[in-house]
Symmetry: C3
């Protein structure tokens, strides 16, 4: 068992930061050969997702759709801090993802990357990587 | 390894019940020091999420946005039970979240709480907490 | 620890394929009595969810709502491959779910089934099942 913490800096309000390499590193450092790796985001206006990293337009389009689904300003919002959309996006995308580890490596599909999702940036953020197994 | 079952009572159609204390208790009772904790909801019209517990307006706004995204009545619905919106919200929010356990404690960010999400209440509900590690 | 790979064939653009039996089989084959099982989808235009399998209209309605939330054609899309909606649905539904294993069996609620979610079919697809514990 092994939990490692990483820092991430975001630069705009909505942003997806590719953290795949750091998750791979944490798995390698854990020495675990067979098990799972959990990526966890300890924030309420951010999340973690897995999606394509080949064409940057995919990231653009995912963030654009989320913004259309959950507009930044809406009559129903009562939270005075003004970032209710970011909280809702966090609950829709989720703040935790678990992936298989086999032969000492996190398993990812050909086109998959792990992304830290910023929904209320720019900010200094963190994420945790826990590797379980043996 | 350790799985514990908890009951939860909901009082309205859409509701987020803070279950953080019970998850903390299950982690403590497991004796696990390093690993993960999974919160699982065995229902198809409910879910589990992690979000802010400081300002209750955040919960209000998340539920209001979900209701806007997935209206209770919609022409496309064919399910005669009339609660298709609750099923869809369950699949959007998800019924399973996994968090790190370090030094014998579930890791949560400063503003994070674990919420049981009711989308078709009021009902008597349950959730399961599984702690893995050592 | 035990990771098993399964193939799945989809037949339409949007489809939910019940994979519950195969996940049960993987848990049984692992010999794990107490722990967790993670279902992981290694694709960026597909996902995995848990929802009702009693009335097929529930699956219809979930797919119809997702299509309403994330329309196939939208002015904001820049990804030239034309399947941005499928990528967004993948990130909304998620590609990983973790469930408890107790007494050698995956725990599911009375009405729950595990579904492979196709959002850009028809295609030949795969999913992975990792069982952890002892």
């Amino acid at each position: 068992m092994h939990t490692q913490r990483f820092e991430v800096r975001t630069h705009t309000r909505d942003e997806m930061v590719d953290i795949t390499d750091r998750v791979h590193q944490a798995v390698a450092a854990s020495g675990v050969k067979e098990g799972t790796v959990t990526v966890f985001v300890p924030h309420t206006t951010a999340g973690v997702t897995i999606n394509e990293n080949a064409d940057p337009d995919v990231v653009h389009d995912i963030l654009a759709v989320l913004d259309r689904i959950v507009p930044w300003r809406l009559d129903v919002y009562e939270h005075t801090e003004g970032n209710s959309a970011a909280h809702a996006k966090s609950s829709i995308v989720g703040c935790s993802k678990t992936l298989p580890v086999t032969a000492g490596q996190m398993v990812l599909g050909t086109w998959q990357a792990v992304y830290f999702c910023e929904f209320d940036g720019p900010r200094g953020r963190a994420f945790l990587v826990t590797v379980t197994g043996r």
